[in-house]
């Protein structure tokens, strides 16, 4: 993931510089977070074009509320909590406009597959199974298994406890295994 290229310390430094008015630091944050955030938003929205729109909206919100980041807290939970909020606002707005989410059986959803989960079966089947997970569990699974966040960070993003985040991710994994016909430890 792109975030790994500068690490948590680098993100913190860039964020502090950005708050001090260094707009080049925003560019650094954008470059570091863009890839992983797009993956997360794709996992939530299940649509590449929507994810691109939401990515831009997330960075716009992030810019507006940059004063709400409190150093030296980790940057990622703050960013992903804003991204998730942008997605939820988008979903509610779409619902109000009558655009309900429907996924046709023959359409392959564009949900990125975490590498650890890819081994459960062929990519297409895993992707479909992942798409059918409820948003809360899918988000926890993607944040932990794809983005490598700790359960504490996942809990901070989702507004739940560390234990609840762990339960959600494990249940999501168990549901995926069940859907894939994989038993026990994945063997």
């Amino acid at each position: 993931m792109a975030t790994a290229s500068i690490g948590d310390e680098g993100l913190l430094e860039a964020m502090v510089a950005y708050q001090r008015g260094d707009m080049e630091a925003f560019g650094t944050l954008y470059a570091a977070l863009r890839g992983a955030l797009t993956g997360y938003l794709r996992a939530l929205s299940r649509d590449r074009a929507v994810a691109e729109d939401l990515l831009q909206e997330t960075f716009l919100q992030l810019h507006k509320v940059r004063h709400t980041y409190q150093p030296p807290r980790p940057v990622k939970p703050w960013v992903y909590a804003i991204a998730r909020n942008v997605f939820l606002m988008h979903r509610r707005a779409a619902y109000r406009r009558g655009r309900h989410e429907t996924i046709a059986e023959d359409v392959l959803p564009e949900v990125p597959v975490p590498p650890e989960i890819e081994s459960l079966g062929d990519r297409e089947t895993v992707q479909k199974a992942l798409t059918r997970l409820p948003e809360g569990r899918r988000g926890a699974l993607v944040l932990h298994h794809m983005l490598g966040m700790s359960f504490k960070e996942v809990g901070a993003v989702l507004g739940i406890s560390e234990g609840a985040a762990k339960v959600r991710a494990h249940r999501a994994l168990a549901e995926l295994r069940e859907a894939m016909g994989v038993t026990g430890d994945g063997s």
């Binding site: 925003f26 560019g27 470059a31 831009q56 960075f59 716009l60 909590a81």
Partner: protein, 225 residues
């Protein structure tokens, strides 16, 4: 490595329009000092302006001023949680928030029960008298609620309704602590129904404010896409 040239046009325009340095938000407990200041001023001033309850001497210092300060501190605790909830990524988990809400109400009930016992368990009627306490206490809580919502609004609550409920209940419990020194009714049913009702109403008002914030944000997002 990355510069602004790589940014999409919309983002670059937003950066050009506003690139001033910002000061990070202070800790929730520090931001809550505004509400604490209001509580201290109201605690010192309102009982003098409106008039202290007639049976204050029989309650004793601990169950009058002590209980009032205790309730104010419990309410401020809820306000601190609302302000924490308003910072993305540091929200209050539902079990912690629910427990805090229950604790705030428990403090109010505890003060009511202890004061009632101290006053010799006066019997009340049903429906309890003194209904005017409900609008009086709710109105007096509005500045605390407004102040809390302004401080919450300075941040960015990703769950504005939840922050609103916590902040509203907090403002309600703080004000109930002050009203405890003023209200002349000592029967338990009065306190539980009208004072408890005021706290619940304030929490509901906080929820409504949070909903309004959410609607405004959703419309703003819709207009951009």
């Amino acid at each position: 490595m990355s510069g602004r040239s790589s940014l999409p046009d919309g983002l670059r325009r937003a950066l050009d329009a506003d690139h001033r340095p910002v000061r990070p938000l202070r800790r929730a407990s520090v931001r809550a000092l505004w509400v604490a200041l209001w509580a201290a001023l109201a605690l010192a001033g309102l009982p003098v302006v409106i008039g202290m309850r007639a049976d204050i001497a029989s309650l004793g210092f601990a169950l009058s001023w002590g209980a009032a300060v205790f309730e104010c501190i419990a309410g401020l605790g809820l306000v601190v949680l609302a302000l924490r909830e308003a910072v993305p990524g540091s929200g209050v988990t539902p079990p912690v928030g629910s427990a805090a809400l229950a604790a705030g109400i428990a403090v109010q009930v505890l003060v009511a029960v202890l004061s009632w016992l101290q006053r010799g368990m006066p019997s009340g009627s049903f429906p309890p008298g003194g209904a005017h306490c409900f609008p009086m206490e709710s109105t007096l809580a509005l500045p605390a609620l407004a102040l809390t919502m302004v401080v919450v609004g300075r941040a960015y609550a990703v769950r504005p309704r939840w922050a609103g409920v916590l902040g509203g209940a907090g403002a309600g419990v703080v004000t109930d602590g002050i009203w405890h020194l003023i209200c002349p009714f000592a029967d338990l049913s009065h306190v539980l129904v009208w004072h408890g009702g005021a706290v619940l109403a304030l929490a509901a008002l906080g929820w409504i404010v949070g909903t309004a914030v959410e609607v405004v944000r959703r419309r703003a997002l819709s207009s951009r896409h």
